[in-house]
Symmetry: C2
Subunit: 541 residues, 2 copies
């Protein structure tokens, strides 16, 4: 069975790692990774495990046999499709790919082309006692798309939404568009560009993640303040549930009862599949300015962030990267934290805005190291540009690191300003200790602030550690558990924008009001009485 | 039985109209109302019905007899308390007060002093088969607090939260405070002021509405853009439901599943009683500037608003008032629309912001009529100040108008910019026609824009009409129905910030996704299995 060419996204993806088959880290990048992480983790050279090939993968036979005739043209059971949809993109999953472990592969993958086909797939799954796993770009960092559903189903069908990828309608006056949920970031932007619009919603997973995935997981994007989450861009949601369609009215705002959209947003495929949304779209920026400041003390950088966040300036970019992370990513010299500021507007010059924010940085001891995003001139050599480049390339480095037993994982949260210092200290200390205990040697634990709010920051921690290649999943899980415990026990959320999935469920269950958990269960019983939608996510199965 | 003095709000309120017994419209204001509305509605003088007095009110005997001993000190069954809690503050309800009709009075009113007492009251209501009506300030515009619950209960208890009125905790670093839900606007502000904080959440009902009421009804406040609704200020919510307490974690942001807060916000007392919230608090503004523009064409003013809304400037104030409304409120000459702009910041001068917004107004044909809110100087004679004064006094005029048979009602909505013109035309035309058909003569239907979003405005319509005093409720209901039909059939929400209550239920049921209605019903059965919480609101009873 061959793969249906996607109309707007025809490159064949790697089934075991980030990106298309014809892209990845260069040899030069791989050598740099060995050099940087060999030094940071104290390793003398690396043995390189080759990536898996399709003929090495032994899948259990598909349990799906009687596919309804009308769905046969969009249903795939070949090894490539099943392997491609076995995992999201955590380190632990990449490690399992390198271990040639695809035991959890779905039994079939369907690519619906419209809402009617989504409904037909759910009808089929319901009747045949199959679990249904919605799949956008597969970039989940939380086991959100894994077909691990327990024993009570007769099989698992993954529903890949990437063929529903069109901008269906625009409303230029209102700066809005109706978009199918399966569209990936670059494709969405390309379709909006002729209308002068853009979602301006960039994140690391942008090239290989979908609008529906962003909405289902409450993803966060480009903007460091204000409209940080996709929640704020959604004007209305269409969802197909096992009990039928859910369409909210398209409104700029409403006070009519609890928001139906805010209930669908973040439901992670456990209530239904998001098929379309009307989006509020910023105009493409015509004016930009940026600047980077270095801070000798991370805490001073935090105070500068807090002032900017509480001043109501709404920077597009306002990120603080700790000295070690700035050093390890090649952004700065490793001795100072850097704070990257960016302002943008489609309407007017942003000098007044950035001048005030820059003064706040200076007032807290920041030293201006450069201005970036200037109207003209080559800015690719700036610290901000180097950081951005490292950030965008990192997903491609996953397979390079995994092949070498270099563990890399992250956790991210949000916390009131008053609680930040304790949380930061706890995560760094306890994760570092866990790395030592688990791997027998020191790793790195670094922090950046990705988003800021008047009442608190969203810190993002990255940890690297040298693994025993035969125990990578177990080691990474133990380290991650220490980080999650530290983060949530000091008041943080289990996730600011990576969602809950299966990975975060134990902490999510402690965090949410228990009665809200009962409401979610009742909602799921209403919308998905067979419990077949992404089982184990959001609601305990 | 005497009234327990409220610790921070001890003035005795009128049981039939807005405000305390020792405040109200002056004789001069009453004469101005007769002059303006006599002329506008073509009336030759008015017969004045005197306001009701307590000894004219005949209530049905209270059905509540066995109040638990522990609750007796906070439970009231006297005529004043029962009458005070019979109605919200619509024209129809004021008309019923003037008709001495208090047939729907609750059987008892309790004033819990802490969360334990709220829980005890709900236990009592559950055991005794009583309906429970949460009550904040009683300013509902949508029959949200009316003890009209059908026949399946043995009585109705109104739970007045106004004794839970304290700021319990502040977090200055994070600009946040934990506040009891019963506090009224001015009292909250007075308690926050020593900390340099303010909620900056002003609306017409501000003096006589509560934090818990704002949260339960998704009220909108001071800010014309950005943080328009209370939703945006809530960091976490405490709610007491018949099944126990609901407390969300205090977070600046989270991506962990559908937001529990966004489910509690807007639940209108149908799921439980909001008892506390952590609030994000702006600092008190130190810099302000304002300006007013006149537009010969209302549509040009709309285009100016749209440009400002889409430019990302976030004005605190950005309101457009149509020529007739500006004239009738004495704000301007009646021939032009006025657009009132205001910017404020605790952090920095706002000149750059307002200069850009003012240019947008000029570019769309606006004529600057004055600058207001200047750093110094008497600005009380400006159009903006006159409009503000008329706006703040209007609730006190309700009883003056009702006593004279001058009907005044409103509806408010939000709509994408592309749909505004049709909605505006439909509401004006169909409401005007309904006024003629129902009253036999012309009334007035005016419009202002209260809040703006990048993708659409929130229009607010006010209508005046001359009633037959024996049929005021019936006439107003018919007129209002025409307005609601027009507003929702052209794509608007039934409410941008007045909530659903019992009045808006028929339109709300048509607007929301039917499956979300089923989710709400399942949630209510989970949290309130007896269906006793504010029955008939949000969920059909």
């Amino acid at each position: 069975m061959t793969i249906t060419a996607r109309e707007n996204w025809s490159r064949r993806r790697k089934f075991y790692a980030w990106g298309a088959e014809d892209e990845g880290a260069t040899d030069e990048e791989a050598r740099a990774i060995e050099r940087v992480w060999g030094e940071a983790l104290g390793a003398d050279g690396f043995e390189v495990t080759p990536p898996p090939t399709l003929d090495e993968i032994n899948l259990k036979p598909s349990r799906v046999d009687r596919v309804p005739t009308s769905l046969q043209p969009i249903c795939h059971t070949d090894t490539y499709q099943r392997a491609l949809h076995t995992y999201g993109k955590t380190f632990m999953e990449c490690a399992r790919c390198f271990a040639r472990d695809f035991a959890d592969a779905p039994d079939a993958v369907v690519y619906p082309r419209d809402e009617a086909e989504v409904a037909a797939v759910l009808d089929w799954c319901g009747g045949a006692e199959l679990a249904a796993i919605p799949f956008g770009g597969g970039s989940s960092a939380v086991y959100g798309v894994n077909p691990v559903v327990g024993e009570r189903f007769k099989g698992v069908v993954t529903i890949d939404m990437s063929h529903m990828n069109r901008v269906l309608e625009t409303d230029i006056t209102s700066r809005a568009a109706r978009v199918q949920a399966g569209v990936f970031g670059p494709d969405l932007d390309a379709q909006l560009k002729p209308h002068g619009l853009s979602l301006r919603f960039f994140m690391q997973a942008y090239p290989y993640s979908s609008l529906g995935g962003w909405i289902a997981t409450r993803a966060a994007g480009h903007y460091a303040m204000g409209t940080t989450h996709i929640d704020d861009f959604v004007e209305s949601v269409h969802m197909v549930t096992p009990k039928g369609g859910w369409r909210s009215r398209r409104l700029p705002a409403s006070g009519a009862g609890p928001s139906p959209d805010r209930f669908a947003i973040g439901s992670e495929g456990a209530m239904g599949i998001i098929t379309e949304a009307w989006l509020r779209l910023p105009s493409r920026p015509a004016h930009r300015r940026g600047a980077t400041f270095a801070f000798a003390a991370f805490d001073d950088g935090i105070e500068a962030l807090r002032e900017v966040a509480q001043a109501g300036l709404n920077p597009a970019n306002c990120r603080l990267i700790d000295p070690r992370e700035a050093g390890l990513t090649g952004s700065y010299d490793g001795t100072k934290a850097i704070l990257v500021l960016g302002f943008e507007s489609a309407h007017h010059p942003v000098d007044a805005w950035i001048d005030i924010a820059m003064q706040a940085c200076r007032d807290h001891g920041g030293e201006a190291v450069e201005e970036t995003l200037a109207a003209s001139g080559d800015t690719s050599a700036t610290a901000a540009a180097r950081w951005r480049q490292a950030f965008l390339r990192e997903p491609f480095y996953r397979e390079v690191k995994t092949a070498r037993g270099i563990g890399r994982d992250t956790c991210e949260t949000a916390i009131p300003w008053s609680g930040f210092r304790d949380l930061h200290e706890a995560v760094k200390t306890r994760t570092s200790r866990a790395i030592r205990e688990v791997t027998g040697r020191d790793g790195t634990v670094t922090c950046r602030i990705t988003h800021v709010y008047p009442d608190g920051p969203a810190p993002y921690f990255t940890f690297h550690f040298l693994c025993d290649k035969t125990r990578m999943v177990e080691q990474a899980t133990a380290i991650k558990t220490a980080a999650y415990d530290a983060m949530t026990e000091t008041g943080g959320t289990i996730t600011h924008h990576h969602a809950v999935g299966r990975l975060h469920m134990p902490w999510y269950l402690k965090q949410r009001p228990p009665l809200f958990g009962e409401v979610l269960r009742a909602a799921k019983e209403t919308l998905d009485p067979r419990g077949m939608m992404n089982p184990g996510v959001i609601v305990e199965s």
